[in-house]
């Protein structure tokens, strides 16, 4: 896991677009940021998982997840950061803590407030990192994500 990931403004814009289109201001949504194992520090791909969603949560389709896991191996990509929206304030809930897509230390989870209806950026966002002790803790967005 990287200490600081680079990503383009386009990746961030597409992330907001996915969340707005999928959630329509009424449901949560999740996207994943990927990078190749050959250059893990730079996020190059967005994936929008097939998921069920409602006002207060999302649930990723298990069959989709299985195929996605195989695709990651075939394409030699890894999931670096999971992103999901909240209806209001951004924080890491107990569900977020318990059911991430990656369970390795250093994995990041970004929560975007207001169903991503606000300005594109990290304003009000909450970033959590999974520690070596298995616990999540808040980390600085600016220290861990670099927009280039």
């Amino acid at each position: 896991m990287s200490s600081r990931y680079q990503l383009s403004h386009q990746i961030l814009s597409e992330t907001f677009a996915h969340c707005r289109q999928c959630g329509r201001g009424a449901r949560e949504c999740q996207v994943l940021w990927l990078s190749p194992w050959s250059a893990p520090d730079t996020i190059t791909k967005i994936v929008h998982p097939r998921h069920a969603a409602n006002y207060g949560g999302i649930d990723v389709d298990s069959r989709w997840l299985h195929q996605f896991w195989q695709t990651l191996a075939q394409e030699k990509y890894g999931v670096r950061i999971q992103i999901h929206t909240h209806p209001g304030e951004a924080f890491h809930s107990a569900t977020d803590d318990a059911f991430p897509i990656i369970h390795a230390a250093g994995f990041l989870s970004l929560v975007i407030p207001d169903f991503a209806q606000g300005p594109i950026g990290f304003n009000g966002a909450f970033l959590a990192e999974l520690g070596a002790d298995g616990c999540w803790q808040e980390v600085s967005v600016l220290e861990r994500l670099l927009l280039v």
């Binding site: 649930d59 298990s62 299985h66 809930s93 059911f99 991430p100 390795a104 999974l130 070596a132």
Partner: protein, 123 residues
Amino acid sequence: MVAGVASKRKVNTVENVATGQAEPGTEKSLPIEAIASEEHATHGFKVTVIYNGVGKEFAVKPAESVKQLFDQAVMAFGITGNVHTLSLYNPGGQELSDAMTIKDAGIKPKDELLLRPSAVKAG
């Protein structure tokens, strides 16, 4: 290794059949694949476990439990949180029970198993 088993059991190998040194009456006793399979049953074999786009090889024996392989994989991939929400899956998408043996789970040499969460949620 294969030749060793073959000589003990007087089973024909590709070589001794080809050179006419086959044991009389044993020409059709066991195909090479069966000998190799018996070898795997005795000495174990390697499988690959995939997690987050990375594959790692693990040596397993048929009598070992799926849980033993799971624990090795969890450690090798540096997984720290909520291990109980992860499982091993065969390529067809079937979750492998921890309590089963490698043999009973149908795991074969060179299989590629997936270590992944059973559920991914947010709220």
